[in-house]
Structures are given as structure tokens and as C-alpha cells.
């Protein structure tokens, strides 16, 4: 059966170069979609501004005595949660992608199983970086000071990005597992709200009741907020919260990324 053998040997394994090209082409698609529908990037641009204004003027006086102190306290935490908020929207988008036939087309092309999802990560990284820049820039206008150095600021940004991208995998998994985009959004909100507010992002935890403190203590968002605060304000331990965030990011990615990739192929 020479023909059969010929078929077997013509197995076009996808090399690393081809993988990169595929992810690149799909990332380009994601960015062109933003260009064609600029409103889709409003969340990345406006949300950090709205949250900064809202929180510093509503809670600023009450939590820290004055806006300026509060901005210095809250913005590093907001940096972490910005990546998170953007990340949770990815699943909603992926879900609606599946409602159209585009995903069917991609899944019948001879490309790697992870390419489409990796291209989402790539585009999301750019969106996050844009959002971080706007957040930090706007907060600096309102009086945020970088009390350390640009390198540590970059480290804070990198850490927030890394954690945000690990959450993108969760979000994509949800997006492919739940039936409708609305359901994805609902579940995301349900998970995100307690995680965000039950943390040290917006207020110091020492005034919270004991049971909540134990929750916030183990909440990775607290570690993320503490790490960013240490890296930007130069106060508090750096190594511990950074390690905790790194471990969480790696663990979340290690568990959810393979599940998401498997789900991508199997989704009927």
C-alpha cells in the first residue's frame, strides 16, 4: 500500500515558524477588528479614567483623609484589576465569535489548536498595555508619584499583565463552556466583584471583620495590589507578594490554558 504510506509521511507537522506566522496573522485580524470597530476599545481607554475619578473623589476623603493620599494608595491596586477587567471581556467576545461561522472556518484550517487563543492573548496584551498607559498617565496628572524608579514601575506593569493574561485563559474557558455571551458576562461579574472588593485594592484590610480578612489574605488580588504598591510607592515587602502573584499566574495558566485549548477543538 504505497499510497497509504505516502499519506502517512506527508503529515505536515506544524513547525514553530508556522505557528508564529499563524498567531501573527490571527493577531493582525484581532487588531483590524478593533480598527474597524473602534468602540470595542472604549473600555480599555475610558474605564481606567472613570474608575480613577470615581474612586478617588468618592472614597478618597473617607478612606485616606484626602484624594492625594488615596490616589497613591489605590492606583497601584487599580493597575492590577484593570488587566483583570479587560481579561474577563475576552470570553464574551470569544463566545460571540463562536456564534458566527468564523470559528468553524478557523477550526477546519490546518493550524495549531492553540493559535486562535494565543492570538487573543497577543491582542489582549496590547489592549492592556494601552489601558495601563492611560491609567498611569491620567493618575499622574491627578498627582500620582512614582516613588521608586521606571524599572520597578515596569515590573508592576509586567506583573499586572502576567496575572491578567492568566485570567484571560479562565475567561476564554468560560466563554467556550457557557452557552451565551450574556451568561459569560454574568458569571464573570459574579466571580470578579467579590474578588475585587474583598481585597486590599480599594481599602486597607485591617478595618475588615476577621472572616473577611482571612479571605482577603488569600485573595491573589490582594497580593497583586500589595506587590504593585510596593513597586510603585516603595513601601512594604516586595519579594513575598510578587512571588505569590507569580505562583498564582503560573498555576492558573497551567490549569486553564490546556483546558481551554482542548475545549476549543471539542466545542461542537
Amino acid at each position: 500500500m504505497t499510497t497509504a504510506i505516502a499519506y502517512e509521511t506527508s503529515d505536515p507537522r506544524i513547525g514553530p515558524g508556522a505557528h508564529l506566522r499563524h498567531v501573527g496573522a490571527l493577531t493582525r485580524r484581532n487588531l483590524m477588528r478593533i480598527k474597524a470597530d473602534p468602540e470595542s476599545i472604549l473600555d480599555a481607554v475610558l474605564v481606567p479614567i472613570i474608575l480613577t475619578v470615581l474612586f478617588s473623589y468618592v472614597f478618597g476623603g473617607a478612606v485616606s483623609g484626602d484624594q492625594h493620599t488615596y490616589i497613591q494608595y489605590m492606583i497601584p491596586g487599580l493597575l492590577g484589576t484593570t488587566g483583570l477587567n479587560l481579561a474577563m471581556a475576552v470570553g464574551t467576545g470569544l463566545n460571540s465569535d463562536f456564534q458566527t461561522g468564523v470559528m468553524d472556518r478557523f477550526r477546519t484550517l490546518p493550524i495549531g489548536r492553540a493559535s486562535v487563543l494565543l492570538s487573543k492573548i497577543a491582542a489582549e496584551t496590547l489592549r492592556c498595555l494601552l489601558s495601563f498607559t492611560i491609567l498611569i498617565g491620567f493618575a499622574m496628572v491627578l498627582g500620582l508619584e512614582i516613588k521608586t524608579d521606571p524599572l520597578q514601575l515596569l515590573a508592576a506593569v509586567g506583573l499586572s499583565l502576567l496575572f491578567g493574561m492568566s485570567v484571560v485563559w479562565i475567561s476564554m474557558l468560560l466563554g467556550m463552556s457557557l452557552r451565551s455571551a450574556q451568561a459569560v458576562q454574568g458569571v464573570s461579574m459574579m466571580v470578579m466583584m467579590p474578588l475585587q472588593f474583598g481585597s486590599s485594592i480599594f481599602a486597607p484590610t485591617n478595618s475588615m471583620p476577621g472572616w473577611l480578612q482571612s479571605f482577603t489574605h488569600y485573595n491573589p488580588l490582594s497580593a497583586l495590589a500589595d506587590a504593585c504598591r510596593a513597586l510603585i510607592n516603595g513601601q512594604g515587602a516586595v519579594a513575598h507578594p510578587v512571588t505569590v502573584v507569580l505562583l498564582w499566574s503560573v498555576a492558573i495558566t497551567a490549569v486553564t490554558a490546556p483546558l481551554a485549548v482542548a475545549r476549543f477543538r471539542r466545542r461542537a
Partner: protein
């Protein structure tokens, strides 16, 4: 129809067959979407897969394009096993779904360019191929506009173009003209015929008999996940029923008399449609045709026209998918059976 069964082993496909499906089963919970489907598409031909909504046509296409894993059975496309060689198989096929699978936000050109890049064409070639196909599908003018501004027909053409970027050997067209107006439908048909002329093998699912008649060499009729008939278009027609004879008399007034004479001659199947002014006779065999002509001739009836017709594919389809009446169900009282 002789059927050579191929054991679901490493025997592989027979040469000359672009698609070979044996005993494919797919369940969704309780529902059997596919319940042991067998079919074969010979290289360079068009197989029409006919069936009502929910018959399993789309599931079949999804199995053959590696989107859905079958629960049982084997399927080879272009010599590749859907289960064990999905990567090679994807390189062989092009798929145009029931719903246009193009990115609405991207322009026609960008859609095609993207697919070209994903199929490993170098940037230059992907560009050239996109331009060429836009031209061929008369989309050059709309090339830079987002696909969401396209009309239904343009979108379908873009979708067809997208499935042809990689010059696939086997094309699946899943109800390619559903929801299209007649003019656009003809454009799609022309394109499909052109692809076949260029050597593509096509598996076409459709609900439209006319479409199958126009495009397909062979037909497979499926209903509730099972193949209920297969063969050539004319084969299926003769299988279902004989020809119908239509006689238009020169004087409509003579119709009842003509019918009476035929009944006397033993042709009880002769019916008269006063409104249309036509006499119709279901012919069981050729001898009956001779009898009719003989009877009408001896009595010197004036005849304006006389012709015989094979049943339309619609009639064929209704005849073979007709569900056996449930005994308990009340039958509509006024229904008259011709």
C-alpha cells in the same frame, strides 16, 4: 448498487473515491443525528445529499470536516482518516457552511488574505490569490469594504472564495444557496460547476431538488440520520414511480368522453383535470402508453399535445421521505389522494 464493505481497519480508502463514509454514527444525548450513514463520492464528481431539516446533513459535513468526532464508523476524505489524520485532512478540504463563515468586520480582501496566510501561503502569494479570487467572484469593487456591508449573495460568494484559497481537492457546500434569491443562486451554481470542471470533488447538501438536479451526478437521500435512498438522479426517479402522460385535447369538451374510453380500455389511472384542460394518466409501463395512443386514435379525438414526464425530484423526495402514518393519529378528512 453493489457495496464493498471495508473493514474499519488500516485498509484505507479505495482509490478513485474522494470521500468514503462507512457506518458513521453520531449521537447528541438521546438524539441520533447520524445513525449509520454510508456514502461514497467519486473523485471529480458532485454528490448531492438531500434531506429535510434535521435529517443530519450538517452533522455529516461537520464530521467530514473534523469539527465533530463521530461515535462510530469510519470516514476517509482524500485518503485521510477523519479521526487519525485530521491535520492532513484539513489541508485537503474547503468548507462553505450554511451561514457565511467570514469575519464581518474585515474587508473581503482581508478575509481572503488571512485565510491564505493561515494556509501557509507566503505574503505575496496570499495577496495575489486573494486578488485573483475577488476578481473571479466579481467582488473586486467591494474588496476594501467590510463584509458586513455586503449583500447576502456577495457574502456567500466571499465565503465560497474563502473555501477555495487553498485549492482544496474536496469541497463541502452545506446548503450553499439557502436563503438566496434566484439570480444569486444561479451565480453560485455557475461557480460550483466551474469548480467541478476544474477537477474539484464536491459534497453538496441541499433541501432543493432543483439544485441537486442542476449540480449533482449522484444523490444520497438521508432522513433522520439514515440513508434512505441513493443512486443517480434518473435512477431515483424511475425507482419511485413511472412516467405521467399528459394529453391536451383539441376540444376541452371531449375530455370526459376521452377519460371514459380509457377507463373502458382498462386504464383506471386516467384522471381528468377540467381546470387545466388536461388528461393525466399514470403509466405503469410502456405498453399502457401504446394503449392510450391506440384508444384515442381509433376514436379520432382531436389532440393538441401529448407528452410524458418523469416525476420531479420534489415528488421523488416526498415519496421516499413520506413518513408512515401513525395509526392513532387522526387523518385529515378532506384530503383527496390522486
Amino acid at each position: 448498487m453493489t457495496r464493498i464493505d471495508i473493514a474499519p481497519s488500516d485498509r484505507g480508502p479505495r482509490s478513485g473515491n474522494a470521500v468514503e463514509v462507512r457506518g458513521i454514527v453520531k449521537h447528541y444525548g438521546e438524539t441520533k443525528a447520524l445513525d449509520g450513514v454510508d456514502l461514497t463520492v467519486r473523485q471529480g464528481t458532485v454528490l448531492g445529499v438531500l434531506g429535510p431539516n434535521g435529517a443530519g446533513k450538517t452533522t455529516l459535513v461537520r464530521v467530514l470536516s473534523t469539527l465533530v468526532k463521530p461515535d462510530a464508523g469510519t470516514a476517509y476524505v482524500g485518503g485521510y482518516d477523519v479521526l487519525r489524520q485530521p491535520r492532513q485532512l484539513r489541508r485537503t478540504i474547503g468548507l462553505t457552511g450554511q451561514y457565511a463563515s467570514v469575519d464581518e468586520l474585515l474587508s473581503g480582501y482581508e478575509n481572503l488574505y488571512l485565510i491564505g496566510r493561515l494556509l501557509d501561503l507566503p505574503a505575496k502569494e496570499a495577496k495575489a490569490r486573494a486578488t485573483e479570487l475577488l476578481e473571479r467572484f466579481s467582488l473586486t469593487e467591494a474588496a476594501k469594504r467590510p463584509a458586513k456591508t455586503y449583500s447576502g449573495g456577495m457574502r456567500r460568494r466571499l465565503d465560497l472564495a474563502a473555501s477555495m484559497i487553498g485549492r482544496p481537492r474536496v469541497l463541502y457546500l452545506d446548503e450553499p444557496t439557502t436563503g438566496l434569491d434566484p439570480r444569486t443562486r444561479n451565480e453560485v451554481w455557475d461557480e460550483v460547476q466551474r469548480m467541478v470542471a476544474e477537477g474539484s470533488t464536491v459534497l453538496l447538501t441541499t433541501q432543493y431538488m432543483e439544485e441537486a438536479e442542476q449540480l449533482a451526478h449522484g444523490l444520497t437521500v438521508i432522513d433522520r440520520g439514515r440513508v434512505i435512498a441513493s443512486g443517480g438522479v434518473s435512477e431515483l426517479k424511475t425507482q419511485v414511480g413511472g412516467r405521467t402522460l399528459h394529453v391536451t385535447p383539441a376540444h376541452t369538451a371531449e375530455l370526459p368522453e376521452m377519460a371514459r374510453c380509457l377507463h373502458e380500455a382498462g386504464l383506471t389511472a386516467a384522471t381528468v383535470s377540467e381546470d387545466a384542460g388536461v388528461l393525466t394518466v399514470q403509466l405503469a409501463d410502456d405498453e399502457q402508453l401504446t394503449t392510450v395512443v391506440g384508444v384515442l386514435g381509433t376514436r379520432s379525438f382531436g389532440i393538441a399535445s401529448i407528452d410524458t414526464k418523469l416525476p420531479s425530484l420534489d415528488e421523488v423526495f416526498l415519496a421516499i421521505t413520506a413518513k408512515p402514518a401513525v395509526t392513532a393519529a387522526p387523518t385529515p378528512a378532506k384530503e383527496t389522494v390522486a
